[in-house]
């Protein structure tokens, strides 16, 4: 068993990434009179932070390469006539640095004042009011009046017609964080800089709306934007209207990642889980039922694990080339749209399983509606997701197999924070309550879906037990499959199936005759998060590299997986994502300690579902109809003439 790192630069993991340990000389610098030894190449900003000094920044973000463009973080450096950007100035020789002087103070105030002057603020009505880096800087650095004036007219530069991301360039201060996020962090490349001088602007190709270019709706640009220039589509009013409509039965499913993060919307430290308080809060808002997406995550594992075993059997034993290996996971809608755009030739590798959100939606409008004698036309299916791409996914026309959209509204963690606040609810103050039946109980495997590696670990727990007849605990302490955990951008692991295999479990008996063909086989798996890492891995696969030999690869579009999703509270950083992941793994461990199921195939509600409704078993006819889907080869060129005549103006 081994867990290895592929070669190449890890784009997504930021500060806590395992960095190659190269012997580097240290340099002694004096910052504001304090002496500190730093590794050569350390930025002045990092060195200052190491000795407890604070330098204001704006264009700098721990997830992104330094740009040095906003000029807020300028400092005095000995031997330099001009001020230097502390984020982008590497220390290679002993220096004396002053982070605060009258020249620095004047420059910072001017620079922030200039940004304020080009920003069409409308602070009072801005979605980022109270959580805006420009506001904070203006307050802290003496922007006491509008020295350089302010914009009084909108540039009519609003792209609000897409399914997920709203771009309001009136609020853009050109820090280039979205551009670097889209190009460097995520390797999508739909945002770039056009024009020059005072016409400089952030634009898509030909200025098309995001919905008409190969944007994957991951929303990382939103999470990395310092102002309100990038936000997510807001569906809270529609949801509220449905709740108030007495003819509607409004149910909500909540995913694990928002539960680990929504506390941040209420001033809690990152990594403070709010699962049970949230259940109470959602009832107070007026949802009729509150369900746990982990239920359908467990269901996904059964379906996707079965699909994997079937795919391997057909491909490796029967030689069926229509079932290519490796199988790619399909839970992340950002990743799905990414591969539809960038590698459509690999769509046959993508699991046909719908994501947990959509599986749940399909069951709510069929099994649940039927069992509770509700007309599915009157059911409003809402989801709480960490994700802006889930909004697009919910709007996919193919995800309507029950005759109705699986999911009517996908809300982000931020939207839910807003709904709760509007209701006067302070989430941490609420009592705890449980999820509603019939989907009440989930397993620990469903919980860890929220972190990178979670889908893989959940799938392995089930696949290993299906095939070997052993307990995962016999192979991995506490059933923690640690080789697939952690934040390396692309993790590779090998798991060897023992020579003795078990009998085929009853639930799969009609699909494969036996497991003899898996005796002693080394399962090769990989876990990838952030689409820049997906790019590296897909190119490796195209070139016939190590990843092409994998059997199963988990791909998540966002850095850190769902916990770092584009619908999560702002700010984000590697440290914040790690804290959220910790909360998620703690919840999984808690399931074990309290005697609850930690493996998807042990989830009693899922077993009941197969007994009562999906009676032809995993990957059977009913499940194929409701729980599986197909994909659209999109390519990177979008036919602009085919788009609607609606123009993107305000």
């Amino acid at each position: 068993m081994s867990a290895q790192e592929p070669a190449g630069r890890d784009q997504t993991t930021g500060g806590d990434a395992p960095v190659a340990t190269v012997e580097r000389e240290t340099v002694s610098v004096t910052i504001d009179g304090r002496e500190v030894d730093v590794a050569a190449g350390t930025s002045i900003l990092d060195a200052a932070r190491q000795c407890g000094l604070s330098i204001p920044t704006l264009c700098n973000h721990p997830d992104l390469p330094p740009a040095g463009v906003c000029r807020v973080c300028v400092v005095e450096v000995s031997g330099q006539r001009n001020l230097q950007p502390s984020c982008a100035f590497p220390i290679t020789a002993p220096l004396e640095i002053r982070t605060h002087s009258s020249r620095v103070a004047q420059a910072r105030r001017d620079v922030i004042g200039l940004m304020v002057s080009e920003h069409y603020g409308e602070c009072r009505t801005c979605p980022r009011n109270g959580n805006c880096e420009l506001q904070d800087l203006a307050a802290e650095y003496g922007v006491d009046y509008l020295r350089f004036g302010e914009r009084t007219e909108s540039g009519c530069n609003l792209d609000a017609f897409g399914p997920s991301v709203v771009r309001n360039m009136d609020k853009c201060i050109q820090c280039l964080r979205c551009v670097r996020t889209c190009n460097e962090l995520q390797a999508i490349g739909v945002l770039g800089v056009v024009g020059r001088g005072d016409s400089t602007a952030i634009s898509t190709f030909l200025g098309l709306p995001l919905s008409d270019v190969s944007c994957i709706n991951c929303g990382q640009c939103i999470n990395h934007c310092p102002t309100g220039a990038l936000t997510a589509v807001d569906n809270t009013d529609e949801v509220r209207a449905a709740i108030e409509d007495p003819t509607k039965h409004v149910v909500i499913q909540t995913a694990p990642a928002p539960r680990a993060a929504i506390g941040e919307e209420f001033g809690q430290e990152p990594g403070t889980p709010m699962t049970w308080q949230l259940n109470t809060g959602l009832k107070e808002i007026g949802f009729d039922k509150v369900f746990d997406t982990n239920f359908s995550a467990d269901l996904t594992i059964i379906e996707e694990g079965t699909e994997l075993l079937l795919r391997l059997y057909k491909n490796l034993v029967l030689g069926d080339a229509t079932q290519p290996v490796p199988q790619f996971s399909s839970c992340s809608p950002g990743w799905v749209k990414y591969i539809e755009h960038k590698y459509p030739e690999y769509l046959p590798n993508v699991s046909t399983c719908k994501s947990p959100q959509q599986m749940f939606g399909a069951l709510i409008k069929t099994w649940y509606a039927n069992a509770n004698d509700v007309d599915p036309a009157d059911v409003v299916s809402v989801s709480l997701m960490p994700c802006s791409a889930k909004k697009f996914e919910a709007s996919r026309p193919e995800l309507t197999d029950s005759g109705y959209p699986d999911v009517d509204y996908a809300l982000t963690t931020r939207e839910m924070g807003k709904m709760l606040r509007e209701q006067g609810i302070n989430l941490p103050d609420l009592p705890e309550s449980d999820f509603d039946d019939p989907f009440g109980t989930a397993s620990g495997s469903g919980v860890i879906f929220g972190a990178t590696g979670g889908v893989m670990e959940a799938a392995l727990r089930t696949v290993i037990e299906f095939v070997t007849g052993l307990k995962v605990e016999d192979l991995f302490t506490h059933a923690d499959i640690t080789p697939v955990r952690g934040f390396a951008g692309a993790k590779y692991a090998e798991i060897t199936i023992p020579d003795t295999v078990g009998p085929v479990p009853e639930i799969l008996a009609h699909l494969v005759p036996n497991w003899d063909w898996l005796r002693g086989v080394t399962l090769k798996v990989a876990v990838v998060h952030g689409t820049s890492n997906a790019y590296r891995v897909m190119e490796d696969i195209k070139a016939g590299g190590k990843f092409s030999e994998c059997h199963f690869i988990e791909f998540m579009a966002c850095p850190g997986g769902c916990i770092g999703g584009g619908g999560q509270p702002i700010p984000t950083s590697a440290a914040i994502r790690a804290a959220r992941a910790k909360a998620i793994y703690a919840e999984d461990a808690h399931y074990g300690e309290t005697g609850r199921a930690r493996k998807s195939h042990e989830n009693p509600a899922v077993l009941r579902l197969y007994g009562e409704f999906l009676t032809d078993g995993p990957c059977g006819h009913t499940s194929h109809h409701l729980l599986h889907t197909e994909y659209t080869a999109r390519g990177t060129f979008i036919d602009a003439s085919a788009r609607s005549t609606e123009e993107s103006t305000c």
């Binding site: 002057s117 350089f148 201060i173």
Partner: protein, 396 residues
């Protein structure tokens, strides 16, 4: 544009400098260039010999080093590089070849200003002639270890691409925007390899230095500003054109020669230069006093200096790359201020804020463009306060 004075460079024979260079070892060439005291003719005034020494000493992965000639002559009021490229291209390419020998480079690129595309064919012909004369290409002057060739890449009209790191970005196929420095191009330049970026005129003078000797060059000019300098003189003069003067010459003498003795002010260094009032015409054109890449724009007695400032400022508002805040937004604010001054609507307090802003732009902008863009405005405010203040809408 007329060449108004005899050009020393015209007397330097093609090939002479290169032959003299290869008679030395590369370190000897660098030593000789350092000894001449020549500093960058593009305006920044960095020691050419030191630049080459740093590029030669920098770690070069795969042994790659680049010689880039900055022929993106875009400073308003400068046109002396155009004359060199048109009349003496051999000396420019020869300077690049000498640089290649000195730092150990196999590839050179001439980055040619987009508007100079009409010169391209003649330059390509010159390169072909030099290849067939063994002055370029494989085994230069019969030395099997000396292989170096030059290609021409066209710019596309962005002023900022004259800034060396923006030029490198453009050469690499990206948007022409200045990079953060350090690292400097001599260490991490084109494709992250050590790169020397030199101005057209600098490279031409290097050919002359090798041909005529470092002592000859060092004997001209002042102690810290050696050698002759080409100036592009334009504006309110009777004899505009390209002039050659020893560095250290006074503005007065320059004006005398060009027929502009009645000038009210002179903008030395182009749009990013300084506005020198008549009272200071005894100052010298040199790196230690009034530094210039070559542009001398003469302002006649009847000119409105605010109109001059507005003209320059409009240029910067258009030509800022838009990357950093002080330059992108600051130039717009200065332009608005100049227009307010012209209308008599700028309060003294507002003017004070603008001057502070100009100071911030000088010290906090990312590159030389932003850092120098408020210079003309600030020097006009400093020297002509009475003329620009106190206007009422009626006087405009």
């Amino acid at each position: 544009m007329s060449v108004r004075t005899p050009m020393t460079l015209a007397s330097v024979e093609a090939g002479a400098g290169l032959r003299a260079a290869v008679a030395l070892d590369p370190a000897g060439v660098i030593a000789s260039v350092r000894e001449s005291g020549i500093r960058g003719r593009g305006g920044a005034g960095f020691s050419t010999g030191l630049k080459w020494q740093l590029a030669a000493a920098a770690h070069a992965p795969e042994g790659l080093r680049y010689v880039v000639c900055n022929a993106d002559e875009g400073e308003p009021g400068t046109f002396k590089d155009r004359v060199l490229l048109a009349d003496l291209p051999d000396l420019v390419f020869e300077g690049m070849t000498i640089a290649a020998y000195a730092i150990g480079s196999r590839e050179g690129i001439l980055y040619l200003r987009g508007e100079y595309v009409y010169l391209r064919q003649a330059l390509e012909d010159c390169l072909a002639r030099r290849r067939s004369a063994d002055l370029l290409g494989d085994a230069i002057l019969g030395d099997a270890d000396f292989n170096f060739d030059i290609r021409i890449q066209m710019g596309s009209g962005a002023y900022v691409c004259g800034e060396e790191t923006a030029l490198l970005e453009s050469l690499e196929g990206r948007r022409g925007e200045p990079r953060n420095r350090p690292p400097f191009p001599v260490v991490t330049g084109m494709h992250e390899a050590p790169t020397t970026v030199n101005n057209v005129e600098t490279l031409a003078w290097v050919s002359a230095i090798m041909a005529k000797g470092a002592e000859w060059f060092a004997a001209i000019g002042t102690e810290r500003s050696t050698g002759p300098k080409l100036l592009s003189i334009s504006g309110d003069v009777s004899r505009p054109g390209v002039y050659e003067f020893p560095l250290g010459i006074t503005i007065e003498a320059v004006l005398e020669a060009a027929g502009g003795a009645a000038a009210k002010a002179v903008v030395v260094g182009g749009a990013s230069g300084k506005c020198i009032p008549a009272a200071d015409f005894s100052r010298a054109i040199s790196y230690e006093d009034v530094s210039t890449g070559g542009a001398v724009i003469v302002i006649g007695p009847d000119r409105d200096l605010l109109e001059v400032a507005e003209n320059f400022q409009e240029f910067f508002v258009d030509e800022s790359c838009g990357q950093c805040t002080p330059c992108r937004v600051g130039n717009v604010k200065i332009l608005e201020g100049i227009r307010m001054l012209r209308r008599g609507e700028c309060s003294v307090k507002c003017l004070q804020e603008l001057c502070k802003l100009g100071g911030t732009m000088q010290i906090a902008s990312k590159c030389g463009l932003g850092q120098s863009s408020p210079n003309v405005f600030l020097s006009i405010v400093e020297n002509y306060r009475a003329e620009i203040l106190g206007r009422t809408p009626a006087n405009v």
